[in-house]
């Protein structure tokens, strides 16, 4: 499984959707993932890839991690994995 497929699987599980229903263009809002769901997804991603995602729920837009779309999340994780 690629990083993209793994991230989509994690997000789909959080959104109670099939992975095929999650596209890279989707936003978390589109998928119905709230702040608690987001924090849980990031935890699952960190566990899956053994990385630390720099994310503060108080200032999501100021964190060094872009969550504006699934594609942005995947890109951020690919970067963190490559830097590991």
């Amino acid at each position: 499984m690629s990083i993209q497929d793994k991230v989509i699987a994690i997000i789909a599980e959080q959104a109670l959707l099939e992975p095929s229903d999650v596209t890279t263009k989707s936003t978390l809002d589109d998928l119905g993932i709230d702040s608690l769901g987001l924090v849980e997804s990031i935890f699952a991603i960190e566990e899956e890839f053994d990385i630390t995602v720099p994310f503060n729920a108080n200032a999501p837009d100021q964190s060094d991690f872009d969550i504006t779309s699934v594609a942005a999340i995947i890109a951020g994780i690919e970067k963190l994995v490559s830097e590991k």
């Binding site: 702040s35 994310f55 108080n58």
Partner: protein, 402 residues
Amino acid sequence: MKRVVITGAGTINALGHSVSETMEAMREGRCGIGKLEMRDVDRLAIQIGGQVRGFEAEGRFNRQQMALYDRFTQFALIAAREAMAQSGLEFSGELAARCGVVLGNSGGGMTTLDDNYRTVYEDGKNRVHPFVVPKLMNNAAASHVSMEFNLKGPSFTVSTACASSNHAMAQAFQMVRYGAAPAMLTGGSESMLCFGGVKAWEGLRVMSKDACRPFSANRNGMVQGEGAGIFVFEEFEHAKARGAEILCEVAGFAMTSDASDIVMPSKRGAARAISGALTDARIDPSEVAYVNAHGTGTAANDKTECAAVADVFGPHADSLMISSTKSMHGHLIGGTGAVELLACIMALRDGIVAPTIGYDEADPECALDVVPNEAREADVQVALSNAFAFGGLNAVLALRRI
């Protein structure tokens, strides 16, 4: 209904080991938050907190007591001793039979839990100290306070996360107000600043790595504190008859539940609690000069709280002062409302309003007078103390100068 006054106060927290030290720090806008000192701190992503420093149990408690008292119980007893000494009350006979202690606490003996989980999981031991259960139970602090001061009436612990102390004090207030008890000890205590406690909070991603800056546009989360605040609530005539020094009057309270989300606060729930407390105390909103905010420094709380205050007070919201002392002592979770009540007492009795420190940048969503960075002299006749807990449980107290 009887009038209820406060005749004793005690505390230990990151700002000081007594009420006078704490109020002095609040007047000076001093910050008690610093680098955490604890085992395995390098494994924590969040390494700051409002720790109680320079505190030794030795000398304050004997060997057997130390074996039985978790840190949150020790804090409660130290604060209770100060409050009792100030009040001059002694409990015996019929008075002792009717008076009790209601304390707020959220985590129980977290240090005890942490240490003993380490013993069995990390060190692989199969035996723990015999007092683990009586040390960690949430009611341990209230029970030991009842024993030390001979309180034989209604005593229990209230656990409503960050609103625990306010809910507890509201319970004690009702008992005195309705004549069930001539006096009650009340307040709260917490010691969640241990490795496991910080780790748990870290997981939620709402903690700041550098400072607690309530209402400031650049705020980035809460900072944990620890400690206790304990008060003697006493029936007014009872206090007057014995010539007790009265710190202020507890005039009313309200409790509400958001019934909506386990972590996100609700403006309506908060506003109902604030206006409910005013109604209960028969206070006109225009009389309120100071609100001690819940003000956690999270994005969600501070803007919701300001919106609730604006809703309840209308145009008067712009002329009242609202500050969060969590910027100085951190968030004491189940003990927080108790330590914050001291800021209300200081405002009412001494005419000094504690500041919100760490305030850098105005936030249009928190456009109230948050008493930024420096304490202020003001004539405060009525003050409110807000607490809005995870789980959507809110409790607001209304206090009056006497």
